[in-house]
């Protein structure tokens, strides 16, 4: 493949590479459209000790992502044109495209609508109060109506606060034995059901963030069968880890929504296989050690994800590579409107003329996760020491090789 500038120019055989070309060895690898993460926390502004736009983008590149959607639960929240512009400016030098998801409500407080049109003017296409769900049905209905008029998409972190009630892990057998307050599956499912009813009534579109329970997935399955405009994502930790992981009280296993029992994990895998779930999104949630190292119930929830997501999908899901790429590249790209620059030919081969946002994957490479070797400022990965199969060898962002032989170039 020949890439000139930011475009793919030749695919197949390249007889005469121009003088001065950089050669990247891709023997045994698959050249794929760059991955797109619908759900990343870059922590800037406000929590730069845990991550910055630059460090998060570097982690993304190493994970094969050429675009990420930055969540708005920064400090202050991304609920205005000014704050969005600030992040977009920080991202101009980043090694991946940073799209911003704006907040649905001012301050993410769930009381008043945020100025979505102003943010949309800057290119924001996805809005969410992620970190929390919009608790008021009335406000959510109004937001859906307004969003429809604007042609943007709302995304929901489904969690009813009164049912979740300070839960730190899944409410069930494990939480009862460990003496940790639990958050029931019901807390997620109640809001999924509510929002589907609102979508049914308003004709709006909705995207569900990090679905984690069998009940939620079944609700979405039926809604899609009914023709509702619904998409959904799942995070790798929800198809690779269970609530039993909390037994040692290590806060690295604390996440929202929490890790669930094996039956829910199986449901997530089934949802990814049958198309109910459209995307794998990392929910990359860095927390510096001094922030995360608290007793389980006090620690902030969240795990790193950018550098392990692809390998976890390849190792743990019984799906062909093309299907995994659909879930991690062109389907998420379509949901957040970053196609066609990202996601390539929507399932077709990378064609000449396409924007050179590519990742070169070695599907057979075996490696062990080393928390101290990750590019993130934080270390909170639950996969330390785990052996995974499948690794990103090179990543090209707009034609620039930002990752070569597994090392970030800048």
């Amino acid at each position: 493949m020949l890439v000139v500038g930011d475009r793919v120019v030749e695919v197949g055989t390249v007889d005469a590479p121009p003088k001065g070309s950089v050669e990247l060895d891709a023997a045994g690898c698959v050249v794929a459209p760059g991955l797109v993460d619908l759900h990343t926390h870059l922590r800037q502004p406000g929590r730069e000790e845990s991550e910055t736009v630059a460090t998060g983008a570097r982690a993304a590149s190493l994970g094969g992502f050429t675009a990420v959607v930055a969540m708005p639960n920064t400090e202050p929240a991304l609920d205005s044109a000014e704050s969005v512009r600030n992040v977009l400016d920080l991202a101009t030098a980043a090694t991946a495209e940073v799209a911003v998801a704006g907040a649905i409500s001012v301050g993410r407080e769930g009381l008043r609508l945020a100025p979505m049109a102003e943010m949309a003017q800057l290119g924001v296409r996805l809005f969410t109060d992620d970190g929390a769900g919009v608790q008021s049905a009335g406000l959510m209905r109004r937001a859906l109506e307004y969003a429809t008029g604007l042609g943007v998409t709302l995304a929901q972190h489904c969690e009813d606060a009164t049912l979740a009630a300070d839960g730190a892990m899944h409410e069930g057998g494990w939480s009862s034995r460990l003496g940790i307050p639990g958050t029931p599956a019901l807390a997620e499912e109640v809001m999924v059901a509510r929002d589907l009813a609102l979508v049914r009534a308003t004709g709006a579109r909705i995207h569900f963030l990090h679905l984690s329970t069998a009940g939620s997935i079944e609700l979405v399955r039926r809604a899609k069968a009914d023709g509702l405009d619904v998409t959904a994502e799942a995070a790798p930790h929800h198809f690779t880890l269970t609530d039993a992981c909390a037994a040692g009280y290590d806060p690295v296993f604390k996440v929202s929504p929490p890790l669930r029992p094996a039956s829910d994990v199986a449901a997530v895998k089934a949802g990814l296989t049958d198309g109910t779930i459209d995307a794998i999104a990392t929910d990359h949630a860095p927390h510096a050690p001094e922030v995360k190292d608290l007793p389980f119930d006090q620690a902030p929830p969240g795990m790193l994800g950018l550098q392990t997501a692809l390998a976890l999908a390849l190792t743990e899901l019984d799906l062909p590579l093309a299907r995994i790429l659909a879930l991690m590249s062109w389907q998420p790209a379509a949901i957040c409107r970053l196609d066609p620059a990202h996601g390539g030919g929507q399932g077709g081969p990378v064609a000449p003329g396409a924007m050179a946002n590519l990742c070169v994957i070695d599907p057979g490479a075996v490696w062990t996760v080393d928390p101290s070797a990750l590019a993130s400022r934080s270390r909170n990965t639950p996969y330390g020491g785990r052996k995974l199969t499948g690794r990103v060898r090179h990543t090209l962002f707009r034609g620039e090789p930002v990752v070569v032989d597994g090392e970030a170039r800048r």
Binding site: G173, S176, R177, G179, I180, G182, P295, D297
Partner: protein, 323 residues
């Protein structure tokens, strides 16, 4: 005989044999406590620290007395002192402990799992859980067992009488670390445990809990009880929002004089303290001969001495058989 565990974090750490050992050794320490000078040199040169992130003068004093009666040096870090700020990294606290060279650390914390995490990080220190969040309070359960064994005649004979014993655990099980420890403890010795609580004060799941029954009506199960173990209504741990009023709680689950009269003649009443008179137990019921609440407190020191002795007072364990 397998070695005694390195830490006491949960009743789950102890086999029935371990429990028997703690109770037998506690008999010897109870005798020490009856002497004019209740002190033995057993832990001389060792340092025991109490790390109480959650206030509890009674339990802390009980542990400190236990350690001092064995001639250990005692360091005491209490909540509210500048060295234990909320949110301070646990790891830093643990490093300080190791640097000072403490042999045993006794931890109480409002969050479940803190003693377990500390135990994962220390190399040369034994960790004793003095109560973590809703999770476990093993020495409380052990002293309860000791007290009941005493009432059953004491010694090995008393121990065998736990088999088939009818035990009621009454109250806010959902938020109670004492209840979780007690259920494991009584069941380990063969007793049959019934949980008695309003539905909202039971844990969301009883999967894996060794209980034989659950009841929402105390009056239905009082008559067959051999042991009535009352739990505190823990307003500081959120019980309040789970029942409409304390009055309703007492009407359904308080051990009133009328209810106490329905108990079998040999039935005994326990409570981990501090009791709230008129809520979990009527004032006059607390003074009945059947109530072993004061015995529980005095047994606490001997049982805690036994625990410290078994954790610290032994080297590599071996056994001998006679040919």
């Amino acid at each position: 005989m397998s070695p005694f565990p390195a830490h006491l974090l949960s009743m789950d750490d102890l086999s029935p044999d371990d429990i028997g050992q703690v109770l037998a050794v506690a008999d010897s320490f109870a005798e020490v406590g009856r002497r004019a000078n209740p002190k033995v040199p057993t832990l001389r040169g060792r340092t025991v620290a109490t790390l109480f992130f959650e206030d509890s003068t009674r339990t802390r004093l009980s542990f400190e007395t236990a350690a001092k009666r064995m001639s250990a040096d005692v360091l005491s870090f209490a909540a509210g002192s500048s060295s234990l700020k909320k949110g301070e990294s646990l790891r830093d606290t643990v490093e300080t402990i190791e640097a000072i060279g403490i042999d045993a650390v006794i931890i109480r914390h409002a969050s479940s799992g803190v003693p377990a995490r500390v135990a994962q990080w220390v190399d040369h220190c034994s960790v004793v859980n003095a109560g973590d969040g809703w999770h476990q309070h093993p020495t409380q359960a052990l002293l309860d067992l000791y007290t009941v064994r005493q009432a059953l005649g004491g010694g090995d004979a008393g121990l065998t009488r736990f088999e088939g014993l009818q035990v009621l655990i009454v109250g806010d099980v959902r938020h109670s670390r004492v209840a979780r420890s007690q259920v494991t403890a009584y069941a380990a010795l063969g007793a049959e445990v019934t949980l008695v609580a309003p539905a909202t004060l039971l844990p969301p799941s009883l999967e894996g809990w060794p209980v034989v029954a659950v009841s929402h009506r105390l009056d239905d199960v009082l008559e067959k009880a051999d042991v009535v173990s009352l739990l505190r209504v823990q307003s500081e741990r959120g019980s309040g929002a789970f029942v409409p009023t304390l009055r309703e709680y007492t009407a359904g689950f308080g051990l009133t004089a009328r209810r106490a009269a329905q108990l079998q003649p040999d039935a005994v009443i326990l409570h981990p303290g501090p009791i709230v008179r008129g809520v979990e137990i009527a004032s006059d019921v607390a003074e009945l001969p059947a109530s072993l609440i004061t015995e529980q407190v005095s047994n606490g020191v001997a049982v805690r001495m036994a625990v410290l002795f078994l954790l610290l007072g032994q080297g590599p364990v071996e056994g001998v058989h006679r040919a």
